[in-house]
Symmetry: C2
Subunit: 131 residues, 2 copies
């Protein structure tokens, strides 16, 4: 491990080696999605300038947009006071962050004790993931 | 468990009964902090209109601002596509979200492989938590 990696050691990785990472639109400040990163994901994000996460379901590195083309150009990376949450300020290529084909993942809003879908599907997922 | 609690069942609580909750400024859209919620914390948040989290370190419910006075008035609650992350749009009373006395918790920015502190301490923590 080189001294170059000191910045990675500063992150307070959980027992399973992960931290949550928030993707926020660099222009509008909208919160688009939350995914998880391990050490390698964060390192590759910095090296490539595009968001790379750790997929907990697939148990592998996930270069966001690798299938959909909806990559996230990273403008800024921040770490919180406890050093266990990462905030990415990004540009969302294609304007679709969510695998449901919506602009962002937070499309369910609590209203009168019910979760109401508030955002439209911009592109059918079968069209997004046909490659 | 009453049918009133169906909306709580919709949340995909982790094995330890928690989900991350992001507090976002309802006006500026800035991401202020991330904490954790269990079922009871989310229920109390909705009932009271103020953010209640689960403190993983103290292992108890934590009404944000209970000591500092820096409560968070909740304007909107959202859930993501996987139903395992909550987004609160809030008004931060006192303008200080972070226990370090800063506006928000994401004050460390990655610059040339170093985390640089970019935001000032607005109030000394010893002044905030003297009660």
């Amino acid at each position: 491990m080189s001294t170059q990696d000191n910045w990675l050691n500063k992150v307070n990785w959980s027992d399973d080696g992960l931290v949550p990472a928030i993707a926020q639109d660099a222009t509008s400040n909208e919160v688009l999605m939350v995914a998880w990163m391990n050490r390698e994901a964060l390192k590759r994000t910095v090296e490539s300038g595009e968001a790379v996460y750790w997929s907990r379901s697939r148990k592998k590195l996930w270069h966001k947009g690798e299938e959909s083309g909806h990559v996230q150009k990273v403008h800024e990376i921040r770490l919180d006071c406890d050093e266990d949450v990462i905030l990415l300020k990004i540009e969302q290529i294609g304007g679709i962050s969510c695998h449901t084909g919506r602009h962002d993942c937070f499309f369910q809003k609590l209203e009168n004790h019910e979760w109401t879908v508030t955002e439209p599907v911009l592109k059918d997922p079968s069209e997004i993931y046909k490659r």
